[in-house]
Symmetry: C2
Amino acid sequence: MAAQVEPLRIALAQIDATVGDIDGNAAAIARSIGRARDAGAQLAIFPELALSGYPPEDLLLKTSFVDTIGSALEGLAAEAREIVALVGFPERRDDVYNAAAVLADGRVAAVYHKIFLPNYGVFDEQRYFQAGTEAAVFELNGVGIGVTICEDIWEPGPPATTAALSGAQLIVNLSASPYHAGKPLEREEMLVQRARDNLASVAFCNMVGGQDELVFDGCSSVVDQDGRVLARAPQFDEALVVCGVDPGAASAARLRDARHRAAVRRERDSGAPGARSLGSLSVPPAGPIEVGGPVAEPMGEDEEVYAALVTGLRDYVQKNGFERVVVALSGGIDSALCALVAVDALGPGRVSCVTMPSPYSSEATRADARAIAENLGTDLIELPIDGLMKVYDGLLRPVFDGREPDITEENLQARMRGNIVMALSNKFGWLVLTTGNKSEMSVGYATLYGDMAGGFAVLKDVLKGRVYRLVRWRNESEQRELVPASVLDRPPSAELRYEQRDDQSLPPYDVLDGILTMYVEEDLDAEQIVRDGYEREDVERVIRLVDLAEYKRRQAPPGVKISTRAFGRDRRLPITNRFGR
Amino acid sequence: MAAQVEPLRIALAQIDATVGDIDGNAAAIARSIGRARDAGAQLAIFPELALSGYPPEDLLLKTSFVDTIGSALEGLAAEAREIVALVGFPERRDDVYNAAAVLADGRVAAVYHKIFLPNYGVFDEQRYFQAGTEAAVFELNGVGIGVTICEDIWEPGPPATTAALSGAQLIVNLSASPYHAGKPLEREEMLVQRARDNLASVAFCNMVGGQDELVFDGCSSVVDQDGRVLARAPQFDEALVVCGVDPGAASAARLRDARHRAAVRRERDSGAPGARSLGSLSVPPAGPIEVGGPVAEPMGEDEEVYAALVTGLRDYVQKNGFERVVVALSGGIDSALCALVAVDALGPGRVSCVTMPSPYSSEATRADARAIAENLGTDLIELPIDGLMKVYDGLLRPVFDGREPDITEENLQARMRGNIVMALSNKFGWLVLTTGNKSEMSVGYATLYGDMAGGFAVLKDVLKGRVYRLVRWRNESEQRELVPASVLDRPPSAELRYEQRDDQSLPPYDVLDGILTMYVEEDLDAEQIVRDGYEREDVERVIRLVDLAEYKRRQAPPGVKISTRAFGRDRRLPITNRFGR
């Protein structure tokens, strides 16, 4: 295999599939196959489970779902003429597999089954899939191509090594690799190392777009056997990246590198079966092929996280068919950032703001709410809650029987506002965005059915410190104060009583965020966090609050995961739990 | 091994462990060991993960959690003198295992690791545990005892068969086997078959009590090699069941049964390693031991489901430290059943009812609400919402701009009531019970932040038809109308507008429940359900409603699983999902 081979032109079809939209996904895949062929590509690579969307979760327990996908794949195969396409789909055979179809000559030429099924973090793949057992390689115009799916290539050994030792000069990887801050770089570093270790080019095609709590960042890439990034797709956008790769360079490197020769010998001597052959294919030569392709510049961290929020929100709104969203502007920084993200995701014409002042709302926050709506070009509905507060107060006073005002009355205000935004949602069909950040959600500094009432929690995984950074970054990138400086400067307050400030109830946000990162994202215990320099009193208080708020988070709307540990499917703690109490 | 052996007296310690309460669970285990010894038992068997509670979920990702349990186990071992105890706990070695400790002579004598880790339905064990690889047998006074944990014995083959073929006359099983209607019988039938197949006695010790969405029914049992039930613990109650078993009878049966002899030969010839020996133990003889023990009568289905609801609610309330619950009584059947269950779980002195009539509430339902509270002996707070309705109406009228009243105004009423019950909860520390049933939750016939507002959804997994059956059963078991006949006879209505009836919006409940059972619990598609005799129009409408309501269910409080497929961790569907649309 592969002594003398020509360069190959490949296309990474970084698409935004929608879970369950089998016809829509099939049409998008068909269009991309056509565009790739038009661009002279011989091989088009799609994301993991592109045909079903990812993750389909318990839809995979429905035979009608999996069987409909099987039929759609047959139809799609007809599109693969004069080009080979690798398409991810759930395949039902003796059991259901997370599979990659090799479409060629108008048919399903072969299928590979994912071997490593992640079952940690947000992943539940062992709930749904049987694991494949064999590495697989097919030949295209004499080039050996190893097929892997997502987690397969995060393992340093087989199946990628098996494919390479069996002669593959190019390893492809179909992925639906969810985003967290910093992951694109980390992932590319891993791909670079895999390419070097295997002396093979690596072509990685990732899903892009939002699905409930997950967002896929795209950032598909092609890396050569020396670890050079030949092509990189943009982050958070659909793209068809066409790139020439030179399999001959991998073969040449293997002649020079005695370690590879020795590894092949060891593999053969071990009696391991080697990679299964998926057959030999050819497509017409596409004329001279230049090695390389477009290399998108990676985003900085603030830009990247902001783009993740925009993408996650946009796709939730679009894929669920909402025309418009509504944000309750308090004049504070969280709701300001929410509105910013919403306007960047949907445009100002699809965002309504509502402000619901009470007697505790200061003139300054009222003015800031108006300024933000005006700067963003959204409409603003003003509905004061004073009258409602009086009626609730009168109704409940006899039952409360002389007890002092407390958190009850504060929560009631938040809940009146929740009722109003939900009434707007019901009457006009708008999606309500909730504005709480991760610091608040962690410690339960939020009102269930009040400010937590809504369909999507834009900042659910964004710590307060990052909220400030993102607003500053967005103001700077716009080169004007979309969010007034007064909003950034004012001490945070829920304004549910006179002279209230968040730091009366919570440690300062830099302390809070530091403790939360260690407790929530890193599973450290109080001793370990205290050892890191935090006050024991703060640490124990924060941990207690986090544990006690589990019941609130269970009823929170979904929001975009941007950290290594988001609330939701990523962190599964019991409500009933006495550990540490 | 075991040609001439004496009968053995074993104790099934069916305890109600609390997740995370390591000290509390250890103390309960220590007490049961003492009681078992006092009763002359030589072996005490505890449930799966008794020391941590089940399921501990992501607590298992905290090293401090697993290590604290390790220390607690060491302390507990000191209690095991003149008796052997089998205690379930998560063991951290090279990785974390779902383990059973053999405590004897004041030390941890040996440990078995669960081999089959369920990862379907409500289970996520492959997220947390490394799988064991070896069946294990220890000897106690010459009796061979095979150790298995929960799922291990649901498999017809190893490790139970390996243990039996390696000489175990008694197979023990430590379980935390969650309840659904009918499961206790199904499970016992399985145990009977395992006993017969292995020509061994089987001693099964199950967890009892509620943990968030799960309830464990207990119903521990001992079955002899002929499939006779020698002892059965009560359902839904803690118990220490002491039972004599005769291992000699198993040995005798094996002499007579040539199939066993042939199977032993095949096992030896196969070169399989056989069961690992966990050692040979002895405890002082306990005098003459009679074979058999107490056999509790199994409950009928209505009694059983009702007991599951009572247990699930009681444990949620107790384990989370609530003094009192509050139920909003509408005068309808769902809230009536909720109040019944609450009073049976906690006593009338810990249940407050509140009724919040509107102009749409009929005299009949108002009277029934009062009658139910009076019959149950709970107090009743009456808070009409007319005044609130007027103020919301006035506030929103300008924004709604002449649009007709619709679902918005109906939801608002439900949300005012939600605010009121939550205000009572905040002011007095009461847990709010929500009253919606599974039929409503399925099709979204419930108001998010309205009647769905609360901490525990008692009837979340109870279809409407079953709600009626349970109320009738409870009235009959009390031999008086705790719930007035008028509540059972009146056509269901949400009373959110004049002359409203549920069947204006939904198919009749018998049709609805039939379709839901097939769609939600059995994953069947429209074609299959229509083939079963339902009208296509009904089927398609119900399926659409179920799919569209996923976002509501995501924000619903937890409730007790009593069916084969409950909403929550048991059924994991994406919100963003275009399948079938």
